[in-house]
């Protein structure tokens, strides 16, 4: 017991230092994160992190690649394109709500809207566009919204994520909020997102291989065999929350949007590769 106490005290001291340094800028956070994973996986090329678990294991990757000839999301993407191009009842299309007609813009989402002082994700923007044009909003986790988002991602294929935290205390607060969410332990099982995706990527949890933080949102929406369909990033957040017995938050809640803001910022510079397939 005494030994344990001494260890605890020693750890306490070692852990004091980080707190002093906290308050880093988003860009410093990102650089440190990149450095951290480069050191953890020196043999993985930076851009390859967008492939999640497949960047870390040859066998899994080979299996995955053999399935890419006939991706199961192809039909959904085609449907997404159709819906994206079809006029609303008022004659306008989704394109009218987005920069460049919504083509090749995925890499700029989510962004901080200085007017409404909130984080706007691509799915939120899709629904805002619908409502502005007198259409009912879509459900956020799967179905049409996932198909439209998937199509929009294909038009940005290979573009580097370029998330900005503008010089606005509210924007920084949203980013910090997402960061705090990612690092806070939740649920009866007491895990943070980081417990799995920062501390243990490359390791197996039962039969699942854990992916690193870096590149995590790049492939979304993804077609999971478990889902049998496309699902959005927030559907995945909810699943990861539930797995540790934490009540998930609603898709597109402020908490999840801020989380996506932080998480995507960490992947700045990495390419958009969505949609993709996952187990």
């Amino acid at each position: 017991m005494l030994k344990a106490k001494i260890i605890l005290v020693a750890m306490g001291v070692a852990l004091l230092a980080p707190q002093v340094l906290a308050g880093a800028t988003p860009e410093e956070d990102r650089k440190e994160t990149v450095e951290y994973f480069k050191q953890m996986f020196p043999e993985v090329p930076l851009k390859d992190f967008v492939n999640g678990q497949y960047a870390l294991n040859e066998d899994r990757r080979a299996q995955w690649q053999s399935l890419q000839d006939f991706p199961p999301y192809e039909f959904a993407v085609a449907e997404g394109k159709e819906m994206f191009e079809a006029p609303f009842a008022n004659g306008k299309t989704y394109g009218s709500c987005f920069e460049n007609g919504g083509i090749g813009v995925r890499q700029n989402y989510p962004y901080f809207d200085e007017g409404t002082k909130q984080v706007i994700t691509l799915e939120l923007a899709i629904n805002q566009c619908r409502e502005a044009n007198g259409e009912k909003p879509l459900k956020y986790k799967k179905g049409d919204i996932a198909s439209i988002s998937a199509y929009m991602a294909t038009t940005s294929e290979g573009e580097a994520f370029d998330i900005k935290v503008p010089d606005d205390p509210k924007a920084l607060a949203a980013y910090e909020d997402g960061k705090q969410f990612y690092y806070s332990r939740r649920g009866q099982l007491n895990f943070s997102c980081a417990s799995c995706h920062v501390q243990n990527p490359g390791k197996w949890i039962r039969a699942d291989l854990l992916s690193p933080t870096l590149g995590q949102p790049s492939s979304f929406p993804v077609h999971r065999s478990k889902w049998g369909e496309l699902g959005t990033l927030h559907r995945r957040f909810a699943g990861c929350n539930k797995n540790v017995r934490a009540e998930p938050l609603p898709a597109q809640s402020e908490e999840y949007r801020n989380l996506e803001y932080f998480l995507t910022y960490m992947s700045n510079g990495l390419p958009v590769v969505g949609p993709s397939t996952r187990p």
Binding site: L8, L189, C196, K203, I205, A207
Partner: protein
């Protein structure tokens, strides 16, 4: 009756033998422990630890083996399963006791089983 009990306890204490050791877990206790360790909705220890004949075990925690030699003190083992964060604040091992994931009794059955490894 009660006097008798007290006498028995005092004797065991005097002999320096913990009652637990005298009693020893039954095969049923051990089986129950293994069930708790392997079941996904209870201990789910295999998610992170390789041990025994467990299949599809994770690699997050160390292999659990040779427990008698490594944990001569049952109390320490209990405390680590109860709440490993007390020993390592950054551990990812769930605090099974502190968060009521397993009851005291259940943890004791888990330990009965671990000592067979």
């Amino acid at each position: 009756m009660r006097k008798g009990l007290i006498y028995v306890c005092l004797t065991t204490l005097a002999l320096g033998v913990a009652p637990v050791v005298l009693a020893g877990p039954s095969q049923a206790d051990i089986d129950r422990g293994k069930e708790l360790v392997f079941s996904r909705k209870d201990g789910n220890c295999l998610a992170c630890h390789k041990m025994d004949d467990g299949k599809l075990t994770g690699t997050i925690g160390p292999e659990l083996a040779d427990m008698n030699t490594r944990y001569p003190d049952r109390g320490i083992l209990f405390k680590r399963i109860w709440d490993e964060t007390q020993f390592n604040p950054q551990t990812v091992m769930p605090p099974f006791g502190r968060h009521s994931i397993l009851s005291k009794d259940q943890i004791n059955r888990v330990i009965d089983y671990l000592y067979t490894l």
